[in-house]
Amino acid sequence: MTSSPAAASSPLLEIDSVDKHFGGVAAVSDLTMSVEVGSVAGLMGPNGAGKTTLINLISGLLPSDSGAIRFAGVDIQRSQAHVIAAQGIARTYQNVRLFSGMTVLEQVMAGCYIRRGTSLWASFLGLPKSRTAYKAMERHALELLERVHLGHRAHLLAETLSYGEQRRVEIARALGTNPRLLLLDEPTAGMNVQESSEIGNLVHSLRDGGLTVLMVEHNVRLLKDFCDYVTVMNFGRLLAQGSPSECIAHPDVQAAYFGKSADAERIRARR
Amino acid sequence: MDLFLQQLINGLALGSLYALFGLGFGIVFATLGILNAAHGTYASWAAIIALAAVERLNLPFIPALLAGIFGGGLLALVVDQVAFQPLRRRAGGGMISALITSIAAWIILDSLAGTATGHQSLSFPRDSYPDTIFFVGGIPLPAIQIITVLSMLVVTVSLHLLIRRSRFGSAMRAVGWNQTAASLGGVNPRYVVVITAFLAGATSGFAGVLGGISTNNVSFHLGEGLMLKGFAAVVVGGYDDVRGTAVAGVALGVLEVMTAQYLSSGLRDGITYALLLGFLLLRPRGLFGSAGFSRA
């Protein structure tokens, strides 16, 4: 189902002519795109296209050089990461960044911190109301783990889990903040077909529950089956936008991923 | 006026000691990224070795001095390979692991130095070093002070040329920036690290022997005192520029002596440490250092 940026309601996330340079390298260059509320948006492009940099800019880990980023109409390009998280943006990481030494449950509890509903003082003193709230949050964290099918691993050290399982823990941790927008950076990297489908189903069920998702992905099947709208980047710039099938069939996108067909002709001739 | 000039010369000599020590400390700090708490002990031990060479082996000044310098370098090399090398093979930990390990070395070497000097402050016998005092226009110029200042100048220039103009210097700077990248560029990091450690220990050992002579204080306190001031010289001057360390060290020495003379002796360390703290808070890269102290 395609939803174009020109819909009646304003988009949840708007990126407006954003630039980011590292020395002489333009990681993101004059990028404009948006994500509609309640949609699953895909972000694709060859390695080095600037997708993770864009995620870092949105989540507040990097400041943009110019341009605007608006979340629910509010400017966030100058905001600090923890403020952005409190406003409702959560993310995962391309190379899984779980907290070393903490169990799976503790990872998700860290994600639930901003929703703890009690002051640090009350928690320190161990007041009964605070303890009840803590237990409730633990139950909620276990529920989140159940959603990613890892409830049975709650008390294991997160770093001992398999790569695919660690990615799911990271998603559960991000969900702990109760976000309105979830940024997933290559969530199915290193997963097989079945696991990737499960992630896709999870993303759809999250969308059905009211969450908006922006997913960086290389997996073409995933983009086709689960994304409503796809943006393609290359060399930091916007390359194409539209439905997944439109983008994948787009000649410029094909050239970016596979090389120009004229080059392929030359190779055939040499043989 | 005479008093002023005399104290100025004292300040220059004292500052040269700080600078000389700081040069060694700074090399390790900038190149190997290690805050080495044990660095002062190399100076203490160099003084102890030189004193032993004079008293037990009856060596004249220059050979004893060389023995001390060599001893300082050797000690630094041993500490680097025993304490820091095992850490390098392990990823992670960074500055704090190296610091804690250097504290271990500091504890061991300081205690041993205390035992070696019988927990006292020893002095070099008067005839073991040049103790002539020249007089220029009525101002006394002890030979040892002249030697100190000249040594500092020679070492500074040599190190500067080594670091900025030689291939080894490029290798040093490459290893300091990124060991893996440097080895990919054909540099043998272990070789560079070992030589750098030796140079650093030798330089600080040089300061230790001269300092032990001029302050009549051969003990583990010598190294600790030089360490703190040398550290200040490195920070104020710029952690990766030996010329900056030299300038800052001399300036601090002069400031200290003048403060003690004209303000109060209790404030003498204060000016150095105030400058140290000030620079760390406001301009960590010092007067001549480069921006961007990025360590893995």
Partner: protein, 301 residues
């Protein structure tokens, strides 16, 4: 009975100093547990110690009542320091905290009321069980901190401050809280040291304590508050034990043990992660034979 009494008389002061050093170690641990390397504990101790002693000397109150004042003084100073220092990059902040100790000594020498270079005599002290009691209170505080939401946030900030911030945890806020805790515990420790030594000099609160206490925390295990106390105990007791075996070289013992720990057990003696891994491995082994006897295992070679 008599041997016990003799033991007590001989080692009471060592035990007292082990308890006092625990405070410095806990103070260092408090900031280390949020990922900050800082030597400022010594400055907090100096501030709390001198202030507490002056309070007792001038008003004649019971030293026990001066303890909260010392803690409060340390907490206040640490809050101010945190505001300035947390703006710095971590390497420079560590060095700045070292510079802070150096400046503190100069201030102690030159500020009136501290006894200057000659030092200050402390005519009062506390009975041993009081030291132990105050440490027990500190232990309860650290236990509560670790078991509360603050503990979770602190561990997250220490492990990966950037990721923690994207989960809504404000690193600077958590680190400021850590500094205040460090200041309070440090100030308390400073006063207790003054009462144990019954004498204060400009060298009482100096670089030596700073270096040995950070080493003690890392040796004991910098990932749990119990590590700080164990480390402080080892560092205090080891030279005393070593004196009986290798006199003349007893101080070297601490350095050697520290070096061995850094090379072989870098996370220290008490490491929750290693303990968890160990129990997980034991559990896996315990389950394996059960799985092997299931029908599905079949006749594997």
């Amino acid at each position: 009975m008599q041997p016990l009494v003799d033991f007590w008389n001989a080692y009471r002061s060592t035990l007292t100093f082990a308890l006092v050093n625990s405070f410095f170690a806990l103070s260092t641990y408090a900031v280390l547990s949020v990922g900050i390397l800082s030597f400022a504990t010594v400055t907090f101790a100096a501030f709390g110690g001198f202030l507490g002693v002056r309070l007792v000397l001038q008003t004649g109150i019971d030293p026990l009542l001066a303890l909260p004042a010392a803690a409060a003084a340390g907490a206040l100073l640490s809050y101010v320091i945190a505001l300035i220092f947390l703006r710095l990059e971590s390497h420079w902040m560590a060095l700045a905290s070292l510079a802070l100790i150096l400046i503190t000594r100069v201030l102690i020498i030159n500020v009136p009321g501290t006894g200057g270079v000659n030092g200050l005599s402390v005519p009062v002290t506390l009975p041993f069980f009081m030291f132990a009691l105050v440490l027990l209170v500190a232990i309860i505080i650290f236990w509560r901190l670790s078991a509360s939401w603050y503990g979770i946030a602190a561990r997250a900030v220490r492990e990966d401050a950037a990721v923690a911030s994207t989960l809504g945890i404000a690193p600077r806020r958590i680190q400021t809280v850590a500094f205040v805790i460090s200041g309070a515990v440090g100030g308390l420790g400073g006063m207790l040291l003054a009462l144990a030594l019954q004498y204060l000099s400009p060298d009482t609160y100096f670089v030596n304590i700073a270096f040995t206490m950070i080493a003690a925390v890392v040796l004991g295990g910098s990932y749990h508050w119990a590590g700080a106390i164990i480390g402080a105990a080892v560092f205090t007791a080891l030279p005393v034990i070593a004196q009986a075996i290798i006199p003349e070289f007893q101080d070297v013992a601490n350095g050697v043990v520290l070096l061995l720990i850094m090379i072989f057990l870098p996370r220290g003696l008490i490491d929750p992660r290693a303990i968890r891994l160990h129990f997980a491995a034991r559990k896996a082994v315990a389950q394996a034979p059960r799985d092997a006897t299931s029908p599905a295992a079949g006749g594997a070679p």
